[in-house]
Symmetry: D2
Subunit: 405 residues, 4 copies
């Protein structure tokens, strides 16, 4: 296996990817380049540097990048323009982070002349697919190493033994069976496995880390406004903010009011059902706000086409096809619709709930003059409705005459 | 206009349809047959009988039917099987009642030998379309009279003048401008117009009539279970119930916990945007519960196809095409998927929120054995994922080689 | 009706629009501005000028425009990029011309300060919808006059009487009942009505005017090539051509070989079925050629998404929604896919048939190396297929275990 | 590998599956049960029996079934109801045969108590997927052996050596490199590989075996009729026929007139493009005939929904998901639409072309009375079109006012 010379590893600094780092060095006798991304997961990144150094990675091969603004601007916001919900409910917090990591990893591979990339996702999950479809799409001839599918460290004990044997520090809480596994970034935190594996049992409250329990949230609702320009959020309560800053601020509001918790049994791309817990505090607020501003600025034709495309679009992102022609085609359609999605949405946050309570826009298509029950001064001729109905009914009448229900 | 001999009027007994009754008698010199349906709107129906009598409708031409069970069983439940949401949010409470009224009206027209039907929906709304597409689909040659599109009673003052002139009682609260108009049935109450016409202004609390304000809801969450069989709800907290009984009980729970309020700007079929307020207390709970049981009993292929068809299906119902081949085709597809949608969902109701917290089924497709992070005893071979990814990536790699991103 | 001052009429110079011209002048006491477009219908346009003059239209209000290149470049080619077929078969030759006429008519209305536009389409067809949706979308407050829906000239005799009374020349062949009505432009000729009204009867050969009967076509097939760049045709048999020139040349080939005849019963937007005859000689060749070049240059994801969007896209064009957000969104998606749709297609034309027999491209995604049954030198690892199938089968296996077919 | 006891092999009796038979016996030390299906491929099946015997398969383990009627009735016809075309052109002749073979193979496995099944499809193609998804869906725990993905007989020479070594007769024409590989059944014959591998080169005429070259077809067109009942063909030229008899007769007609040839570059499910040649003589006629009868018997709503679902439906069949909930859901929708698809279609066959020239039905929805340009006696009120257009235009006008194009 000495055919790999230099591999770029998506490295969190945690136990698993530390073991992988060492395992790669041993197994492939290759140089390992570490890449640690700040996607807003809320962890210190410098310890990752120290660990990498400890395992012999030279300074120039340790990459630590703050990708938060790029993440929100080029991945989260475009996705939110599409109102994407996987299986009707999930805001795709993990799915949308993977393509960016893959892309940066490939950039680094090119910069350092690596011939392989590696990640710490298991062989049962979606993330391996998302990472690898990203790698292959961007660098078709890259070598991909997925240790979890290759090695024989199939139990936690084996992993810890390996760590100890190689002087890799094992945090105390990893020694026992951790009760679940988590992923986090600026958009969300997810947990799955262990105590969550019985979908009949309620998710224990200690699994949630990003939001207060709605029952402990403030007894007073909070009213906020979000401003949108061309489909993207630009301000909170009138204060202009960068994408990542806005999402961070919404996360804080969501946390406080217990917003964005989701207990879901979902269908993985690899063919099994899994049960997950998601917290998307800011994202849940943003998603509904975006729908709110679209309500008055999107024409029905555009809105309904978007609704019809959304499940497919969400499925593509979930399955890892961010860098695919079909996702980009759908994005082109979606983005075309957002030109005038500009205005302000007012929302009420309360005890786990988000409620759009007002929206206004310089580009509103809502016409009080047309819709009013009062005299509309000729804006709408009710007699037009007769012809409209008659012709919509014509085919049904021909059918009725034939089939005589 | 003496060509109409006998007309069946959808008659609520309220001011508007009372005026219509009289206006039909006068204008068409015809017999009016009244039809009043109990769809669970929560109003006494006997006053409608008295009013009809007062205006000279003979007993045998006064029809008052309790359609609640038929409404829930044959309209609400089938629709809920499809997880229908119009424009992502609206549970279609008004839309789904209209076809049943139209159908019953046509049945009565046939029974009494009427040559026309009439309704009290205005010329700006969706309901005229829903009623009339129903009429025409079921009785292609029926004559339809839509007084709001024909008469000159275009202001409320004119309407009240007409009423007084003809000894039609005018309730006190109708004398001033009523602040909004409402529709109600067992599934929901909606309001629109007047104080709701500025979509930037919050819906005043007094507009809501079916739910307490979430802020006034109990401080303790309530846990309930709903049992499903073949896609339809059959029991609450283990107690078997008929469709209408179940929905009524869920409404009571929803009312108590402030569930199912929606403030929406929507796109009407007739081409304008309107702002409405909806309360669907029981329906909101039921909708999420149904999604919950589907999560473990539907295969991914079925689930995703349903998600892709749902926006179109909801649009058809919203636009009034319940009795159309395409709605029936979609229903056939949806119903085919529900065979094993059987089991129990546990939900938490709290301060306006509904949260699925558990689901179980004798037909669950969720396999702890397959999904577990622990040793799965060979239920899943992680190495399969390598080939799966490789072949999914193949086209992207060929593309990447060509386009060299 | 003196509220109309100046109206721009889509004027062919034929009997019907001549009568309309006069009728507008009389009925509305207004100035009529005539607009005659050369869309390649193959008729002299100068006679239209003479007729307009004769009826008192001043020179500066007679507009005769050659729109052939704009028609093909901005309407036909974009539509062909989408492989649009209405109801699986119809190449939309009439539908695609209407938006351009409407657009130019509105431009002229603005240029001459007209307050109204008018057209000669009847009240039963699709064209009235296509014209008027175009007018209203581009000039929301324009007044639209559709004489066929307004006047009392409901029989051909009445029309001819009116013409004679007003010294409008009546061609001899219009005196008797013409056996069918036609529309023509560079893309196609259509006929409907009269002798075509029984869908069981074969379309008589004399109805066809743009193609020879396949039975009379040459006994030798003809091989041609079409070059594409970014999804659009640019050359025939290696000779570069402008869009309209290319389509004209393909029409000539199609005519000679009897290509592009279609006998169709279709569903009109206004709710009825009609039977039409279409000849689209060049378009039929071009459509298949475009599919041919896409076969090797489009990725599967893009190709299948296009196929799924195509029926909707075609329906929008057929129904007259060219100038709508949803058509533009679909166009954005389609156009995004065409970047590398460049190359050459070889076709065989023979006795009414078009057969793609070869295609090549500098951007081909077809890889002989990968697909070969022979030794592929590692381009594809057959063992990957095992994992691919296993994971695609996983959900079906779980289902099979549950349902035990 | 002695864990396999008895395996049911899809056995054609040709060289490849004969080698597989022997290889299975040797490699797995197991009993091989052979299954040979008559799907109308036009080959003698008794030689397969003799060969199986020769290799030691006992009589009771040799299964030879005539599945032609089941194939057409339960697979081809249902698919044709959906107007399925893969990538716009391919009639899915190979794809639709695989599920039936898989189903019968599993039935036999159950009957003889086999623990495994095997097939002769290679690791690069779609057929392996189609077979195995069928196996796994119907018998989730069956063992699947795909020799082409396992063995080391990776060249034709190795295969022939193996055959000779084991006294398996090698036909002369298999000794050299065969110029392409084929598949055949009652619906079609396909060829791919070798001389077809350059998609720029025309398919040589000798590759076609089921149709005459259109250039050699009769100079006189032939007119036929096909009768349909509830969406399925039941008679040719007025003579009632069983499904397989009808398709056989249409094949004969198609062969004679050179109908149903297709040269296609398609996208395989396994991710590569391949170039194939298809001959579907009877199927091409039937497909267009079915569209023809639908034109007058299907309502627009049903027809357009079918058109929108068709690409997805075809993709599912192509990819091997016949036995999947989503294909069955789509089938339920499609079948629901076919209730009144009854009547007669007249077609002209000429030199490779199929042209619908007439259709009639007791359930026709085509109304000459409504569509006529002549006086329609009130069947349609042209003024209704004004209102119809006005309300369809309303949203576009609001948009136009906002965006001011």
């Amino acid at each position: 296996m000495s055919d790999v010379k230099r591999v770029v590893l998506a490295f969190s600094g945690g136990l698993d990817t530390s073991v992988i780092l060492k395992w790669l060095q041993q197994t492939y006798q290759c140089e390992v380049v570490t890449f640690t991304a700040d996607l807003g997961q809320g962890e210190e990144l410098e310890p990752a540097r120290a660990k990498a150094k400890l395992m012999g990675v030279p300074d120039e091969h340790i990459f630590i990048d703050d990708l938060r603004e790029e993440f929100v601007k080029d991945y989260v916001f475009p996705m939110m323009r599409g109102n994407a919900l996987y299986e009707g409910l999930y805001l795709l917090g993990t799915s949308i982070a993977r393509p960016l990591i893959a892309k940066r990893q490939i950039e680094i591979a090119r910069a350092v002349g690596a011939d392989a990339v590696s990640h710490g996702a298991t062989g049962k999950g979606n993330d391996q697919v998302r990472f690898e479809l990203g790698y292959y799409g961007l660098a078709p001839d890259i070598r991909v190493i997925a240790p979890w599918r290759e090695w024989d460290l199939t139990s936690r004990t084996a992993l810890i033994d390996f760590a100890e044997k190689h002087q890799i520090p094992v945090p105390k809480d990893k020694r026992g069976e951790s009760p679940f596994s988590t992923d986090a970034n600026l958009l969300h935190t997810s947990s799955e496995g262990k105590v969550l594996e019985d979908p009949w049992e309620e998710v224990p409250d200690y699994v949630y880390s990003r939001t207060v329990n709605p029952e402990d949230a403030p007894d007073q609702p909070e009213i906020i406004t979000i401003d949108f320009e061309r489909g993207d959020g630009v301000a909170l309560n009138g204060e202009g903010m960068s994408p990542a800053t806005l999402l961070t601020a919404l996360n804080e509001l969501g946390r406080k009011h217990g917003i964005g918790r989701l207990d879901l049994v979902e269908n993985r791309f690899v063919g099994m059902k899994s049960r997950g817990m998601y917290e998307t505090p800011g994202g849940a607020i943003y998603h509904l706000a975006h729908r709110g501003i679209e309500q008055i600025t999107l024409d029905r034709g555009a809105a309904h086409l978007k609704d019809e495309l959304a499940p497919r679009y969400a499925e593509l992102i979930y399955n890892g096809f961010w860098f695919s022609p079909e996702r980009e085609m759908l994005q082109a359609a979606i983005d075309h619709s957002q030109e005038k999605v500009t205005g302000t949405v007012r929302l009420k946050l309360y005890k786990g709930g988000v409620h759009v309570i007002g929206r206004k826009s310089p580009y509103t298509l809502y016409s009080e003059k047309v819709v009013t029950f009062e005299d509309d001064a000729g804006a709408y001729d009710q007699r037009d409705a007769a012809g409209f109905i008659k012709l919509n009914a014509l085919r049904l009448r021909l059918l009725g005459r034939r089939d005589g229900r």
